[in-house]
C-alpha cells in the first residue's frame, strides 16, 4: 500500500492503495466515477476508457502507479452544466441502444477530435476501430462524431480555425 495522488476532472484525490491496482477500480469504487466500466479487463474493448493528458487510455490495464497527469472521465466532459458537443451529438443522433459501451465511444471520440478536429470517414473508422459495441450502434456513432466535429469546428475562434485550415 502507498499514498497515490490522482487529479481527476479538476479535483485532487489522495488514496492509500496498492499501486498495482488498475485505475478502473479506483475510479469506480473509491472515487465513485462510474462512467468508465469493466468490459474485458484486457484493454481490448474500450469500455473503461478515460483520457489522461489528452490520450484515450484503457483504465482496466493501467496500474494506478503509472498514471501521471490529469485524468478526465465521462463525468468531467460537461462544462458549466452544458454537455460536451459529442454528448449532445450522441443525443441528437439517438446513438445508444443499451448504452453500456458509450463511455468508451465518447471518450475515444473526444481524444480523436481533440487531435484531429476534422477527420475523414476513414480516419473516424480507423480511430474508433478498437472501441467495441455489441448492440452495434457504430453507424450512428460515426454520424454523431461527424456532427460533433462540425459543431466544434464552428465554435472555434476564427484565428484558430485559420491555423487548423
Amino acid at each position: 500500500m502507498s499514498n497515490i495522488t490522482l487529479n481527476v476532472n479538476g479535483s485532487r484525490h489522495t488514496l492509500d492503495i496498492d499501486p498495482s491496482t488498475p485505475l478502473l477500480y479506483i475510479l469506480r469504487n473509491d472515487l465513485s466515477l462510474q462512467g468508465p466500466r469493466f468490459g474485458c479487463g484486457l484493454g481490448q474493448c474500450g469500455l473503461c476508457t478515460v483520457i489522461i493528458n489528452g490520450v484515450a487510455t484503457r483504465s482496466c490495464i493501467t496500474p494506478v502507479s503509472a498514471v501521471k497527469g490529469e485524468i478526465t472521465t465521462l463525468e468531467g466532459l460537461a462544462k458549466g452544466g452544458k454537455l460536451h458537443p459529442l454528448q449532445q451529438a450522441w443525443i441528437d443522433e439517438q446513438v445508444p441502444q443499451c448504452g453500456f459501451c458509450q463511455n468508451g465511444q465518447i471518450m475515444t471520440a473526444k481524444a480523436l477530435l481533440d487531435k484531429n478536429p476534422n477527420p475523414t470517414d476513414e480516419q473516424i473508422r480507423e480511430g474508433m476501430n478498437r472501441t467495441l459495441c455489441r448492440c452495434m450502434t457504430y453507424y450512428r456513432i460515426q454520424a454523431a462524431i461527424k456532427r460533433a466535429a462540425k459543431v466544434m469546428v464552428a465554435a472555434r475562434p476564427t484565428s484558430e480555425k485559420e491555423v487548423v485550415a
Partner: protein
C-alpha cells in the same frame, strides 16, 4: 402507514409523504423520482439506482403488486404529472419510451408529463420482463387498457366536480373541460393528485388486465406514431445513469467465480492456503463444482480467484467434439428428438418428376451472446430478506428462481431491475443473480459478483449450432415445384430463465432436472407458395449436457438467423439454377399464393420486398453478375423472412476483395413491416442495429473449442463487428403492407428480432452475386471466403 398487499410501495410512500408535506419534490421522491422535474434524464433506472444506493433493505416482505388494481399501474401526482409502473425491462430498444407514448395517448396526458418505472419486482406488476419481442406486441395492451381506464375514472370524477355529464366533457393534456364552456376546467392532479384510484380491474392474468374503458381506435392516437427522443439516452451519455454494476451498499464485498478448467471436470480439493494470506481475503465458497472467492475489494477478488489453487479431475470421456469436427458429429449423431415433418402435397413424387434437382448443406456454428460486459449482480441479504440488484431482463423470473434456489419464501426476495449491457436473451438466464444471492447468504454481507471476460465468452449461453440440408426441384420453366428442408440443431437441454435446476450455479452444484429440455430446430419463415414441400427438424445432443460451456439458450430470435441463412441462401441457389432474378424469383413464389393468413402476411411480404427493391434501386438481372477485373468485386443480395407477424426484407451490397478474402458490406437496406409503428425513429434504430448484430454473426462470430474447453475467450480469439466493418449507408424503410393500413384496430408487432433473420443470407447471396462463389458455412471470415473463391476459381 403500513404497506398493504397489492399496492405498489410508491403509492404508499406517496400517501405517507402527503401527511408530512405536499411539496412536489417530496411526492416525486417518494414515488421513486429522485430528480425533480421531467427532464429527459429523470427516468426510472436512475431512480432505482439512486434508491439502491441510499437505502439499505428492510426486512420485506415484498408482496406482488396486484395487477387487478389500477393503482398498481398508474400514479397521478398533484401537479398532474403521471408515473407509469410496468412489468417490463428496456434493454436499449426504447420500449420504455414506447410504453409512455401509448399510455400517455390513452390517458390523454402530454408525453413529457409522464415517467415510466420498470421491472422491479416489488414495484411493478409481473409482466415477465423482456423477451420474444413482445413489448409492444403483447404487453403494451394491458398498459393501454389500464391507462384508458384511468382516463375514464378521471372523467367521471371531473363530471362530478364540474357538474356536467361525461359526454359533455373534453379532455386534453391532462385537463378536463366542459365542451360548452371551456372556462370550466379541472386538471387531473386536482382530481386525484397523490391519492389512490381504488379501482379494481378484471382479467384472469396480467395480459388480460382490463377496466371498463376501451382503448382508442388507432386513428385517434396522437402520440403513437411520433418519434419523441428516447428518455433513457441523456443519462447514458452524461455519465449520470446508475447501472446495476454501479450499486454500492454499506458492508459490501466482491466475489469472482473460479470455473472448472475443462468442461465436466470434478473438483477434488481446494488449497485455501494459496489465497488465505492475500489482502482483503474473506472466504472461498464452494459446493460441488461451484467455486467462488470473496474479498473486500474488487481487484483483490480478481487476484485471489486467479491465484486459488484447486485440483480438478478431468472427465473420463470428451465432453464434446472439437469445433472443427462439430458438423460431422451433428450429421452422424442419432437425434434426441425429431419433429413430425410438415408436409404439403407430395414432395417425393414432385422431386422425382422435377426437371432439375439441386441440393445444398448449410452449417452455422454455435454463436454466443458475448455481451460487451460480463454477467453481474449485487445481492443484499440484510434483515432476513434478499434484494438482488440486477440487469436481468426477466427480473420476475430471477426472483422466483432465486427464492426456489435458496429455499426462501418468495415474498422475502425481490429483484431491483437496473440497466446493463445488452439483453438479447443472455440476461434472461444471466446466472449471476443466483450466484450473488447464494454468496450473500453464505457470507451474510452484500455481495457483488461479476464474471470475467474469458468466463463470459466461454460460459455464456449459446445459440444452437445448425446443420441444414435442403433439396429443391424446378420444372422445365424454372418454377420451384418441390422443396425438402431438413434442419438439425445441437440444442438438447436448452436452458430456461434462471431456473433453480438449470441455472449454471445449480448445475455446478450437481442439481439435475429429471427431464432435460428437448430443444428445437426452426423451419423456414416465409410465405412462398411451393406446391410440394416437406420440413423436418431434429435435435441432437453433445456428449456432455450438464456443466458445459456449450449450453444453449435464447439468443435474439433463437433459431431464426440459422434457419433463414439456409432457407434464403437456398432460394437464391434455386434462382441461379432457374437463371432468374433472385428478387423476381421470390416475388413469383409469393404472388403464386392465393390465400393469406389473418395478418395478411403474404400481401405484406410482397409489399416489403417491393419496398426494399425500390429503396435500393434494384435492377433486374440474374446472379452472378459478370465478374470485374480488379481486386474488388461488388454484388448485391436479397433475403426476406417473417417472425410472428413482423416482416423484414433486406438487401446487402458487398465488396469482396478477391486477393484477401475480406468482405465489406457497403450498403444495407431493410424494408420493415411491424404493423402499427409506435416510434418510427426508434424502430429504425432497432432495425439498423439488428442487421449489424447479424452482420457480426455473418462475418466474424463462432464459438471455437477443442475437445475439452472453449478456446474463443476474448475479443481477439472471438472477434466481433467493428467500426471498420460498418456499412457506409443503411436505409431502413418502414412499410405498412396491410391492405387497410388505416383500420382502427391495426396492431403493432414486435420489432426487436425479425430484422436479424434475413441478413446472413442477404450477405451470402451478395457474395455469390459478386464472385460466383457460394459460401454455405458461417462465419465468412477471410480464410473461408478465399477457400470458396479458390473453389469457384475466382
Amino acid at each position: 402507514m403500513k404497506p398493504s398487499a397489492g399496492i405498489p410501495k410508491q403509492v404508499e410512500d406517496a400517501l405517507e409523504n402527503l401527511s408530512v408535506t405536499t411539496s412536489r419534490r417530496n411526492l416525486l421522491r417518494s414515488a421513486g423520482l429522485l430528480v425533480v422535474g421531467f427532464t429527459a434524464a429523470s427516468t426510472g433506472p436512475l431512480t432505482t439506482a439512486a434508491r439502491a444506493q441510499t437505502a439499505t433493505s428492510g426486512a420485506g416482505p415484498y408482496p406482488d403488486p396486484d395487477f387487478k388494481q389500477l393503482d398498481s399501474w398508474i400514479v397521478i401526482h398533484q401537479d398532474s404529472t403521471a408515473t407509469f409502473y410496468v412489468g417490463k425491462t428496456d434493454c436499449g430498444q426504447g420500449t420504455g419510451t414506447a410504453f409512455r407514448q401509448m399510455m400517455s395517448d390513452e390517458l390523454d396526458i402530454a408525453y413529457d408529463k409522464t415517467t415510466c418505472i420498470m421491472g422491479s419486482t416489488d414495484n411493478t406488476v409481473d409482466q415477465g420482463g423482456s423477451g420474444g419481442s413482445t413489448a409492444v406486441e403483447r404487453d403494451a395492451w394491458p398498459m393501454r387498457r389500464v391507462a384508458a381506464e384511468a382516463r375514464r375514472v378521471l372523467l367521471e370524477m371531473g363530471a362530478a366536480r364540474l357538474g356536467a355529464p361525461v359526454d359533455q366533457l373534453a379532455v386534453s393534456a391532462g385537463v378536463i373541460t366542459v365542451k360548452a364552456d371551456p372556462s370550466k376546467r379541472v386538471a387531473y392532479g386536482e382530481l386525484i393528485g397523490g391519492k389512490r384510484f381504488n379501482v379494481s380491474l378484471t382479467g384472469n392474468n396480467v395480459n388480460a388486465a382490463t377496466g371498463v374503458a376501451k382503448v382508442k381506435p388507432v386513428t385517434e392516437l396522437k402520440i403513437v406514431g411520433l418519434s419523441p427522443q428516447r428518455y433513457d439516452i441523456p443519462a447514458k451519455v452524461d455519465g449520470s445513469l446508475k447501472w446495476a454494476v454501479d450499486v454500492k451498499l454499506p458492508g459490501m464485498v466482491h466475489a469472482r467465480n473460479v470455473k472448472p478448467p475443462v468442461a465436466g471436470a470434478k473438483l477434488m480439493s481446494i488449497d485455501e492456503s494459496s489465497v488465505r494470506g492475500l489482502p482483503g481475503f474473506i472466504k472461498v465458497v464452494s459446493k460441488g463444482n461451484y467455486v467462488a472467492v470473496v474479498c473486500e475489494r474488487e481487484e483483490q477478488a480478481i487476484n485471489a480467484a486467479r491465484q486459488l489453487k484447486a485440483n480438478w479431475e478431468k472427465p473420463a470421456t470428451a465432453p464434446f467434439p472439437s469445433s472443427e469436427d462439430l458438423f460431422k458429429y451433428m450429421r452422424s449423431a442419432t437425434p434426441t428428438s425429431s419433429s413430425n415433418p410438415i408436409v404439403v402435397g407430395n414432395p417425393d413424387t414432385a422431386m422425382a418428376g422435377a426437371a432439375k434437382v439441386i441440393e445444398a448443406d448449410y452449417d452455422i456454428p454455435f454463436q454466443g451472446h458475448t455481451a460487451i460486459s460480463p454477467a453481474h449482480a449485487m445481492a443484499d441479504p440484510s434483515n432476513g430478506q434478499m434484494t438482488i440488484y440486477s440487469n436481468d431482463m426477466k427480473s420476475y423470473g430471477m426472483r422466483t428462481g432465486v427464492a426456489a434456489f435458496l429455499e426462501m419464501p418468495r415474498d422475502k426476495v425481490r429483484v431491483v431491475w437496473m440497466e446493463g449491457p445488452q439483453g438479447f436473451g443472455r440476461t434472461a438466464a444471466d446466472d449471476a443473480g443466483c450466484e450473488a444471492a447464494y454468496l450473500a447468504k453464505e457470507i451474510g454481507r452484500p455481495v457483488r459478483v461479476q464474471w470475467m471476460r474469458n468466463e463470459e465468452t466461454a460460459w455464456d449461453t449459446k445459440a444452437p449450432a445448425f446443420t441444414v440440408k435442403v433439396r429443391g426441384g424446378l420444372d422445365a420453366d424454372g418454377n420451384l415445384v418441390a422443396l425438402d428442408y431438413h434442419a438439425r440443431a445441437a440444442d438438447y437441454n436448452h436452458v430456461g430463465y434462471n431456473e433453480p435446476d438449470t441455472v449454471l450455479i445449480a448445475q455446478l452444484m450437481g442439481i439435475r432436472r429429471a427431464k432435460p429440455a428437448a430443444g428445437g430446430a426452426a423451419t423456414p419463415s416465409e410465405m412462398y407458395a411451393i406446391p410440394h414441400r416437406r420440413m423436418t427438424s431434429e435435435v441432437v445432443s453433445l456428449p456432455l449436457i450438464w456443466e458445459t460451456p456449450l449450453r444453449t439458450g435464447n439468443l435474439r430470435d433463437p433459431n431464426g438467423p440459422q434457419s433463414t441463412f439456409a432457407s434464403e441462401s437456398f432460394i437464391d441457389e434455386l434462382a441461379v439454377a432457374a437463371k432468374a432474378d433472385p428478387l423476381e424469383f421470390r416475388m413469383k413464389l409469393l404472388t403464386a399464393g392465393t390465400t393469406d393468413d389473418t395478418g395478411f402476411k403474404r400481401a405484406r411480404s410482397i409489399a416489403a420486398l417491393k419496398a426494399a427493391a425500390e429503396a435500393y434501386g434494384w435492377d433486374k438481372r440474374s446472379s452472378p453478375k459478370p465478374r470485374g477485373a480488379g481486386d474488388i468485386l461488388t454484388g448485391r443480395g436479397v433475403a426476406y423472412a417473417f417472425r410472428g407477424q413482423s416482416i423484414a426484407a433486406e438487401i446487402a451490397e458487398v465488396e469482396v476483395n478477391r486477393r484477401t478474402g475480406h468482405v465489406w458490406v457497403k450498403r444495407l437496406v431493410c424494408a420493415y413491416d411491424c404493423g402499427l409503428v409506435v416510434n418510427p425513429e426508434a424502430l429504425r434504430h432497432v432495425a439498423e442495429c439488428a442487421m449489424l448484430h447479424s452482420l457480426s454473426r455473418t462475418l466474424h462470430e463462432e464459438v471455437q473449442f477443442d475437445t475439452e474447453k472453449v478456446t474463443s475467450v476474448d475479443w481477439n480469439s472471438h472477434p466481433t463487428l467493428t467500426h471498420s466493418d460498418t456499412p457506409a449507408r443503411i436505409d431502413v424503410v418502414l412499410v405498412n403492407g396491410d391492405p387497410n393500413p388505416k383500420r382502427p384496430d391495426l396492431a403493432p408487432y414486435g420489432g426487436g428480432e425479425t430484422a436479424c433473420k434475413p441478413l446472413l443470407a442477404a450477405v451470402a447471396n451478395a457474395i455469390y452475386d459478386a464472385t460466383g462463389a457460394r459460401i454455405r458455412r458461417v462465419p465468412f471470415r477471410p480464410t473461408r471466403v478465399l477457400a470458396a473463391l479458390d473453389a469457384a476459381r475466382v
